[in-house]
Amino acid sequence: MIIIDGAEGEGGGQVVRNALALSLVTGEPFRITNIRGKRAKPGLMRQHMTAIEAACSIGNAECSGLAVGSLEIEFRPGRVEPGDYHFSVGTAGSTGLVLQTILMPLIAAGKPSRIFLEGGTHNMMAPPFDFIERSFLPIIGRMGPRVEARLIRHGFYPRGGGKIEVVISPSRLAPIECTDRGQAISCSATALFAGLPFGIADREISTARKLLDWPDNAFAVRQLPEDLGPGNVLLLESAFEHVTEIVTGFGKLGVSAESLAKTASQRMSGYLGSTAFAGPYLADQLLLPFALAGGGSFTTVKPSQHARTAADVIAMFTGKRFEFEQLADGSHLVAPV
């Protein structure tokens, strides 16, 4: 039985999700203590419960200690059953985080699956749908499995109500080299808004336009049906031959449109100014598939605490450690050894 101290490293819900995915793939049971020990409200929150329950239902797993606020659970995986699943996430949760928990086990499951996920699709503290669809899943596709995601309805915090469909055609994960972005193909800045004044999206776009040296036709405002709102995100997307980076600014009460757009634009400029293949969020997502592929490598800007914690958990289940090597141009080469 693998025992994880949930308060170690970054110490958040990601440790739980990674452990669930790894446990289902490797068949190793685990116990995690001090769940989210460093957080203001420690223990499992509703969204983590949903992720655990999803893991239990696809993997015929048993979990003891499951309760809101629980500091310790024990998880015993069974056989992962591919098929059709439908999971709903409550207000604070994101569909992307549930997908993060169950995707790798279903990719390794031998038969196709189709999943409907309801809840937030563009929530803070989680990869938004656009990132999953156009930044993360294409890399998985290059490794072998085909995973297609479709956005049926947007879901913003706090209202939720979004829906996505993910179709998974499994295959072995092959190691690949991701060190070169290739030629720049396109770029776009889109301000999505629903149930809010047009001016908010407009101000985001004009701020981004000033900070990013992009052609005029790259900037757009998109109004979504009123009843999906309130909600607003600014999506900055930069597509290259081998990779697409998406930076998101999430609109929320108390944050001005200008400051949100400025932060997002600066982060996009930071990525464009480096030679690294993966931005920080993509790097976090790639660790698990690269470890399961057992090889390959990618470059990224600077490994986050998130990434280092994820690497530690991965090592506990797979024995594979990651090496983070700083290169001459300041980027880091990440490879399982």
Binding site: R46, Q47, V68, G90, P158, R159, G195, D227, P230, L253
Partner: protein, 529 residues
């Protein structure tokens, strides 16, 4: 984990909103409950009236969207008048009785933030009475930010926090019931009875009261409470004057009690009103009244009977109207018999006589008084000191055992607590601290014993230590009689009076001499002291 069920009213105002996206910028309690990341509601029983059916549906849809884990159970409950207590209580009681609650299988939270205040009160009452077998759920908007989520907390009426409130109510009501008892910690039934009686007497009579009992049994504290009680009832207006008669000796005793005129004696540089005068319209507490000289006793008697007395050196009498409470640890009846206390004064005092038991006879009161003394220490020193659990148990085990003699009664207990509280590291009395205090008390009482029976001045420490307790009491009584007698023969006659009466001749003096010799004592050594 048991499923969680929330029961609450739809708030027709608080849960209401515009039908549009802006509703998500408003705190709606019923929706907010289901948006908490650390609260998972499995079923929500939402009570609403027919006119609010549309709002209920709307709120239910929003709950479904933010909380797919929640099953919504809309219940219609119509009131003719939602402000009518009887109707609301009755309908909610019917609801509670009909609902198949099973606390073994489900947890229940009763939401009291929505609904009329009458509904809130009824929900509270039904929860307190366990008709609704759950905890109260309270929600509120987040402070400082606009959030549709808000905050939540629960109140468990069965838990200790509520108990402490209930205890405070109990204390308050006991206080109005018996003013005297509050401040005097007791669980002793006999003592309780005495206090009740004193309270009765104090409120109905102005006659003197005599409190008997050993030193430190709480006579002075009780006298002060009687005074406060009478003052509260506007029966006395003047001051409370307390005198320990053992401290009044010789010439100054008269002057202290009854005052003097300027120039009455050397050093009488100015008029002095005296303690009786100070107690005018108030209360005079004469503690250890048995120690008062015979002359003063006569003056006091006259002061009680005529409310008049003559200050030293004055040619005109002074007047003072006071209530007298006398305290003594002596048997005044015996003092009268041996001629050291005036019979007429005793008769005057012996109308309302109460005997307070010593702490050793009220061992069940040691624990409450321990807390009381800790409180007093905190008040006095501004520092709250407490026992750790083990230390408290150990101290109490000793305190209520027969090893603890409590010869100084409450004075011993107060001193003991003060010592421990002062010596405790970081405001926590631990086992070590208790152990050394227990040793200190044992030593104190061993010593007190020697002082009491007067043998310490006659015998060396070694000789005393070698004495069996059995012999010790015998010797002590013998010495006492010797000292009260003029000669060895007189002492012998008193000591062997019974056998003398049976047998016509006996040499009592010789028998006594031989007895004393056994302890290395003779008549002159014993009588000298």
């Amino acid at each position: 984990m048991k499923p969680l069920v929330v029961i609450g009213f739809l708030g027709s105002t608080l849960d209401g909103s515009k039908f549009g996206p802006s509703r998500w910028n408003k705190w709606r309690p019923s929706v907010g409950i289901t948006m908490q990341e650390d609260l998972r509601v499995d079923r929500f029983v939402l009570l609403h009236g027919t006119p609010h059916g549309r709002l209920a549906e709307y709120v239910a849809e929003d709950i479904a969207s933010v909380s797919p884990e929640t099953t919504i159970d809309l219940r219609r409950m119509d009131f003719k008048n939602p402000w009518d207590f009887e109707e609301v209580y009755g309908k909610l009681l019917d609801f509670a009785r009909a609902e198949p609650f099973d606390p073994e299988v489900e947890d229940y939270l009763i939401h009291i933030t929505t609904g009329t205040h009458v509904a809130q009160i009824c929900l509270f009452l039904l929860t307190e009475a366990h008709y609704l077998p759950g905890r109260l759920l309270q929600t509120q908007p987040s402070r400082g930010t606009v959030s549709p989520v808000g905050e939540w907390n629960t109140i468990d009426l069965d838990l200790s926090r509520y108990d402490s409130i209930a205890t405070r109510f109990a204390v308050a009501s006991a206080e109005s019931q018996s003013f005297l008892k509050s401040g005097i910690e007791t669980r002793n039934a006999g003592f309780n009875g005495i206090i009740d009686e004193i309270e009765h007497v104090a409120l109905r009579s102005k006659a003197p009261v005599l409190l008997m009992g050993p030193t430190g049994a709480g006579k002075s504290q009780l006298a002060r409470r009687i005074y406060e009680l009478k003052r509260l009832k506007h029966q006395v207006g003047g001051a409370f004057v307390e005198v320990n008669c053992a401290t009044l000796r010789g010439d100054s005793a008269m002057s202290a009690l009854f005052g003097h005129r300027k120039g009455a004696f050397t050093g009488a540089a100015a008029d002095r009103p005296g303690l009786l005068r100070s107690a005018d319209k108030g209360m005079l507490f004469l503690d250890e009244i048995g120690e008062l000289g015979l002359d003063e006793q006569a003056m006091i008697l006259r002061a009680i009977e005529d409310k008049r007395f003559l200050p030293v050196g004055a040619d005109k009498e002074s007047a003072a109207d006071f209530q007298l409470i006398a305290g003594t640890n002596r048997d005044l009846g015996e003092a009268v018999a041996s001629g050291i206390f005036r019979e007429d004064l005793y008769a005057r005092l012996n109308l309302w006589t109460f005997t307070l038991p010593g702490l050793a006879e009220r061992r069940e009161d040691i624990e409450p008084n321990l807390d009381y003394e800790l409180d007093r220490f905190a008040e006095r020193e501004g520092q709250r000191v407490s026992f750790n659990k083990e230390a408290r148990q150990r101290y109490l085990a000793f305190a209520i055992s027969s090893d603890a003699r409590w010869t100084g009664n409450f004075r011993d207990l107060a001193a003991s607590v003060t010592r421990m509280a002062t010596l405790s590291p970081r405001g926590r009395i631990d086992v070590d601290c208790v152990d050394s205090e227990v040793a200190r008390l044992r030593k104190l009482w061993l010593h007190a014993n020697a002082v009491d029976d007067g043998l310490a001045s006659l015998l060396s420490d070694e000789a005393l230590a070698a004495l069996d307790p059995f012999d010790r009491v015998q010797l002590a009584e013998t010495v006492r009689i010797c000292r009260a007698s003029r000669s060895l023969s007189e002492a012998g006659r008193s000591l062997f009076a019974a056998s003398r009466a049976r047998r016509t001749s006996a040499n009592d003096a010789d028998r006594l001499r031989k007895y004393l010799t056994r302890f290395g004592l003779d008549w002159s050594a014993v009588a000298k002291n």
